[in-house]
């Protein structure tokens, strides 16, 4: 089973680059690429919104709920939150009640910020995992964009929280080393160019069980991002783990 743990919905800002696409195409294209299940979030209906209002968050999550309803066998939903909004908890509960399995955090708040702590606690109470964007940019991150060191601090603060740090390639070796001591932090392979060595580094630093396949489609291609794993110089059994079974175990852990 191939599971892509990092997918977004098409939004209006994609039109210029990717053409006007049917809402459902993100699922049908995954199917065509041989992917069995996708874990999807929306970062906004009009564009990727870094500090979405409560209304914008609800719209984004409604889009994911719609896909979950239409493709119940293929789509897992993540609840996008802006922890700065006063009603984040109500939105988390609404998404949880409708079957979402995790929380998506982008760049509204750094992962190490205490603003985030109540969100993590509420997520843990509901057995929801956290997918946290992170990047280690050589010319500096956005104001509230997490670096891997922020994610590592969050992992120390909440060792029982299950966290997926997004973008193995965007965090570099240094970033992967920062989260290596925390067994509750996984990394997904999403985004970035298909540069040689990224997956090999992730496996060497984190081991074969904490690396999860993610594409970051539609901004990235399902096929290219899969090839990062299939072409990597790692054993076939490890590739299979990354492509799906690691996430299945991760989810089972949630259930327990």
């Amino acid at each position: 089973m191939i599971i892509d743990v990092h997918v977004h919905t098409y939004n209006r800002s994609h039109d210029a680059l990717l053409g006007s696409r049917l809402f459902q195409e993100i699922v049908t294209r995954a199917r065509k690429a041989g992917i069995d299940r996708i874990v999807i979030s929306s970062l906004g209906r009009t564009a990727y919104l870094p500090y979405p209002s409560s209304q914008e968050v609800r719209e984004a999550n409604d889009d994911v709920l719609k896909l979950m309803q239409e493709f119940p066998e293929e789509v897992y939903g993540l609840c996008y939150l802006n922890p700065r909004n006063p009603d984040w908890k109500e939105e988390m509960q609404r998404c949880y009640d409708r079957g979402m399995i995790g929380i998506k955090l982008w760049i509204a708040v750094k992962a190490s910020s205490p603003i985030l702590f109540p969100v993590i606690e509420a997520a843990m109470q509901r057995n929801l995992f956290i997918q946290q964007h992170s990047f280690l940019k050589s010319r500096g991150n956005y104001r509230d964009e997490s670096e891997p060191f922020d994610v590592a601090r969050l992992g120390i603060e909440y060792p029982q929280a299950r966290i997926i740090m997004a973008h193995a390639g965007g965090n570099g070796r240094e970033g992967l080393k920062a989260i290596a001591p925390m067994p509750n932090i996984y990394v997904d392979t999403s985004g970035g160019v298909p540069e040689c060595g990224v997956i090999e580094n992730a496996v060497a630093i984190l081991g074969s069980q904490r690396v999860l396949f993610g594409s970051d489609a539609p901004g990235r291609s399902y096929a290219v991002q899969q090839a990062k794993i299939t072409a990597a110089s790692i054993p076939a059994a490890v590739k299979r783990r990354i492509m799906g079974s690691n996430f299945q175990e991760f989810i089972r852990h949630e259930d327990n």
């Binding site: 994609h14 210029a16 680059l17 990717l18 053409g19 696409r21 195409e25 993100i26 294209r29 065509k32 690429a33 990047f135 280690l136 940019k137 050589s138 010319r139 390639g169 965007g170 965090n171 570099g172 970035g192 160019v193 298909p194 540069e195 040689c196 060595g197 090999e200 580094n201 489609a217 539609p218 901004g219 990235r220 291609s221 399902y222 096929a223 290219v224 899969q226 090839a227 990062k228 299939t230 072409a231 990597a232």
Partner: protein, 255 residues
């Protein structure tokens, strides 16, 4: 289906030990992936201090390899040996390669006129890589890298309408800006063009003749670039153009 990969490099990249390729490993890789011809450039040419020296080494080394690997003549107009390198290797080369962004010069610099004139008189295309690696995290050594200025690229192409310019490895929005300008002598490669629906959109809008296949190996996995095209809903006719015909028309692989 025949494939020409116009975006290949030889050598080791100091900043990522996983990025390395010798002529022997490249030959093996292109055979394994069913590539008919590969147009290769030595990575050392980016930092080389003499045009003649670096091309001498490369063209000599490549003599022992199959004709499947076609050498590009890498030139830096700021370094010595430019005229001699062109005189000696222009006829053996598949095209001229300029790394202006990485070598910090402007394409409109008068030093380049001799290169453009030579390209025009010999009908050699000029390939200009716009990106090589993930710049958001890897530019420590290349801190000086500036944004690609599409306007400058268009001006250069306009100044030399009889020369074909292949801008290799543009980012999606750069490729779209380049193609939207509608210049006859501008082409782009696929290596950095990624997104669900992106290539379909580009081909719909600007035609299939403008796109050449490139892998950016060994920076990227060859398999990733090949799968990018296979996963799209292109007709065989379109695939033949992207994979082979377009490059074959520009680079004259029968040379």
């Amino acid at each position: 289906m025949k494939i020409i990969d116009v975006d290949l490099h030889i050598g080791q990249w100091l900043h990522n030990s996983a990025v390395q390729s010798s002529l022997a490993t490249l030959q093996k890789a292109i055979r394994r992936h069913g590539i008919e011809y590969g147009l290769a450039t030595p990575l050392e040419s980016i930092l080389a201090e003499d045009n003649l020296e670096v091309n001498y080494r490369f063209f000599k080394e490549i003599e022992g390899y199959s004709l499947q690997i076609m050498p590009m003549l890498a030139l830096n107009p700021q370094q010595p040996g430019l005229e001699k390198a062109m005189e000696r290797y222009i006829d053996q080369a598949a095209g001229i390669k300029l790394f202006h962004r990485f070598q910090r010069y402007n394409l409109s610099d008068s030093l380049l006129e001799i290169i453009y004139e030579t390209a025009q008189s010999t009908q050699q295309p000029i390939v200009i890589p716009l990106h090589l690696f993930e710049e958001r995290i890897a530019v420590h050594y290349f801190d000086y890298l500036e944004e690609v200025k599409v306007e400058d690229l268009l001006q250069t192409a306009d100044a030399w309408p009889a020369v074909n310019f292949v801008f290799s490895a543009p980012l999606p929005y750069e490729a779209i800006e380049l193609l939207a300008a509608g210049r006859k002598n501008i082409f782009v490669t696929t290596s950095f063009l990624e997104g669900e629906g992106l290539l379909e959109e580009i081909i719909d809008k600007y035609g299939v003749q403008k796109i050449l296949y490139g892998s950016n190996y060994p920076f990227f996995y060859m398999e990733a670039s090949l799968r990018k095209l296979c996963s799209q809903s292109f007709s065989r006719h379109m695939m033949e153009h992207i994979y082979f015909n377009n490059a074959n028309n520009i680079f004259r692989s029968d040379r």
